[in-house]
Symmetry: C2
Subunit: 565 residues, 2 copies
Amino acid sequence: MKVVIVGGVAGGATAAARIRRLDENAQIVVFERSGFVSYANCGLPYYIGGVITDPEELTLQTPERFWQRFRVDMRVRHEVTALHPQRKSVAVRDLETGRVFEERYDKLLLSPGARPTQPELPGVGLDRLFTLRTVEDTLRIRAFVEREKPRSAVLAGGGYIGLELAENLRGLGMDVTIVQRPQQLLNPLDYDMAAFVHAKMRQEGVKLMLGHSVAGFEADRNGVKVLLKGEAALKADLVILAIGVTPDTRIAKEAGLELGVKDSIVVNDRMETSEPDIYAVGDAVEVKHCVTGEQTLISLAGPANKQGRIAADNICGGHSVYGGSQGSSVIKVFDMTVATTGINERTAKKAGIDCDKIYLSPASHAAYYPGGRLMTMKVVFEKGSCRLLGAQIVGYEGVDKRIDVLASALYAGLNGVQLKELDLAYAPPYSSAKDPVNMAGFMIENIAQGNVKQFHWEEADALPRDGSALLLDARTPAEYARGHLEGFRNLPLDELREHLEELERDKPVYVVCQSGLRSYLACRILAQHGVDCCHLAGGYRLYEVIAKERCAAECAFPCGMEGNH
Amino acid sequence: MKVVIVGGVAGGATAAARIRRLDENAQIVVFERSGFVSYANCGLPYYIGGVITDPEELTLQTPERFWQRFRVDMRVRHEVTALHPQRKSVAVRDLETGRVFEERYDKLLLSPGARPTQPELPGVGLDRLFTLRTVEDTLRIRAFVEREKPRSAVLAGGGYIGLELAENLRGLGMDVTIVQRPQQLLNPLDYDMAAFVHAKMRQEGVKLMLGHSVAGFEADRNGVKVLLKGEAALKADLVILAIGVTPDTRIAKEAGLELGVKDSIVVNDRMETSEPDIYAVGDAVEVKHCVTGEQTLISLAGPANKQGRIAADNICGGHSVYGGSQGSSVIKVFDMTVATTGINERTAKKAGIDCDKIYLSPASHAAYYPGGRLMTMKVVFEKGSCRLLGAQIVGYEGVDKRIDVLASALYAGLNGVQLKELDLAYAPPYSSAKDPVNMAGFMIENIAQGNVKQFHWEEADALPRDGSALLLDARTPAEYARGHLEGFRNLPLDELREHLEELERDKPVYVVCQSGLRSYLACRILAQHGVDCCHLAGGYRLYEVIAKERCAAECAFPCGMEGNH
């Protein structure tokens, strides 16, 4: 059997090694357009920033080592220019010599990945404009940085690569601005959770220009002018475009393979394309989203590697299936960690799912053991069934752990209430006896059983302030004095029982506290006294971060807070 | 409704608060023998070591705060001396005044916890002998340390408390010796994984006397003589007994409640005892082990808290059930992290389960990103079904994360192969594109599908060295030179294919490498050439740690290693 693989990174490299493990006699040829195989895509921004210092660290494997160990013929700087499914061959161009030849296959695996999306804007070809996808791109940017010592950078795009670049360029002392059309960074997050990221970025000196459109680029002596729609241009010594990626599927399209979302390659759960004996994996294929069941693009290394292994199994006559992706991801944002799994609230609503959400801000480990820090967790679940739809966490230590626990729960089909039962490992330096994930389960159960009702930050400003509702802040007077929601009256939780008689019990009551715990307790007391009440999910803590963020983004926004913010 | 709760820590305190949240009208009285409620049991060793400096950090709640917030009548220094189920009352002694009185209940919750097991040995009452269970014990030891400045300590018992104490007393500069009868520390671990902990302890200067029995204690001027059976006595300035805990169930026993393992209280899944309207939770009850289905004792804070909440739900007329415990635990051992979930191999075999195991030693995060460190993971699963039975991990960063993912998988009933499918969050600072847990899934699948056969460290020394089997070491010559298994011939993996013809293919082949990866690859090559082969699970790395540990524990042990160890 002769297997030809197009693309020698992530999925392609994984598949090549697995095929060899399963079939010592297969002939395996990999064509990789770039000069490197199996490189550490996700590490590239850290090389630019000097966190990873040795370029060899990025290239996990070399063609020589692949041959030695796996007898895989890795041909770098070879571009597959056409597929010929009828003849079972591919056309290849040796980029060094220009030679073009045809290579026959019995099985073909496409792992071409994606290309950085290139906006069709004037000036995109300029010298000081870069994209970041390959080792070559990385070395180019690093060389530019060392040679030109740029003092300012504009990053177009605020996704994973944009944020990692921002951190790394700040680390080099540059003045960094992120410009993008969407109103928030990190699309997998909901706006409320992104607000924490915005605050962190601003705190670290990154300028955010959200909701702005780039109109083009112009050379400007020793720099670039970034032209904005309806606004003054920005000047920068360096511009990196990181507005996303597009499946690199021209040859698949020309060969008539069935294409899906954004011209990605359609595959079944065995990673087979519409053409016999042609498989495809990685950023170039569309996958089923585990939560929505919809076909989607998920450009992440984890799924690509898993798919590569599955395709290899099937190429070798086995039967392995890919169950879909739930898009779990994590990113370091300076000293902060931001992680997601499943879908966010925005996506759930778009998909027409009737969903609810909880917010909590637990400590990373037992409060009495030194070094713990708060994280903010949002869990989105289906109303009624409590089916887990997704989770988002921002914080520091322990965020990556909780997202992986939630990702495992989601994979296993647990519902939100079952989170309370997870038997997680506890010791003071690592967790709390009731782990944050258990706490999320308790909270979802309380909502499901009707023990408490929530209202949300989006609704807070529109609450009736005409006296038809009672607005209570259950925190201490000192906390209240530091900032509170307009129109809310301070009645500390521990004094509530003594003042119950004074309350007008026929009015609906809205209760706020700092994190949502005391307001929950207040609601339990009120509800048992026949009061119709609900509390602010996530508390003033969440509201304040969002309100401040809105103020920062758009200073005219009436953020509804009093006190010194 | 009047609820009386015996014991105001963990389960009792949790239940009290939950009952109030569910029932604003209940009368709730808690009797706590010690002077403190809801204290941080698991933090006590860290206060002795000065890691936690403020004693108030240990006492999470006070009776006053409990009253203010929850209207729970917490009576500290009150000991419940008898239960009268027929009269629905308890007898109570006020330890301050000596007054004895009877308190009626509608519902009674027993959360008496456990007492440190006191060996019946001469000299147990000596001055410089301590046990550690309560805040009072802690303050007493801390005061002793500050006053007497002990320079040496003997700890009897090498469980969680013993190890945490060892670390904290070493941190104070003491000479620390752990003495115990079992041959290994940390009973939830198998011996092979405990070997890593032994090595760490020794490296940190803790003397281990495993397999030794304490015969008694004698005062010795300014110290204690710890008498050992058949051996010279040890001298120490301070002795702490930490040989385990015993359910504190005298009153339950006297009242005729059904008792189980070690006189623990028998409860059903609603946490109801054999007597109507009496519930019990925490270290005093026996629980069903999720994996074995057997009744067992699990003295951990997580289960106690969960049980307290469940009992509260049922006391208030709800229906909550406890599904059992899987014994997930984690402990910091100096800078090392050691964690387990489910059962270990020893327990599985005792329970008659036909089990297999894998070992892997993945990096905590992408190798190319700075700061990653190796962990060692052992996963035990049922043969055939691949049902997960348990996992143990020793390492540094990221150990607690992986055990919680495995604990969640175990809870959800995933089998070992499904671990490969978990969609975990990856970025270079946190993980690898194939997370260690995914890798475990791949390995279990390879075994299940017959892609590779393993042999184990226990069998390595008994392999035929008479030429009837071929023993190969697939590492590089340099690695081989640094130490290898006796009788194994060096044939680096990358040269194997060239030497295939020379091998006597009719003999069984045993292959070793450093971690088990290269030997697996070698086996794949060999097996496809018709050779009957298997490889050493965990590799030379695991074998070496165990062999060195055996040498350290018992110098006459023939550890079978050549080279400079």
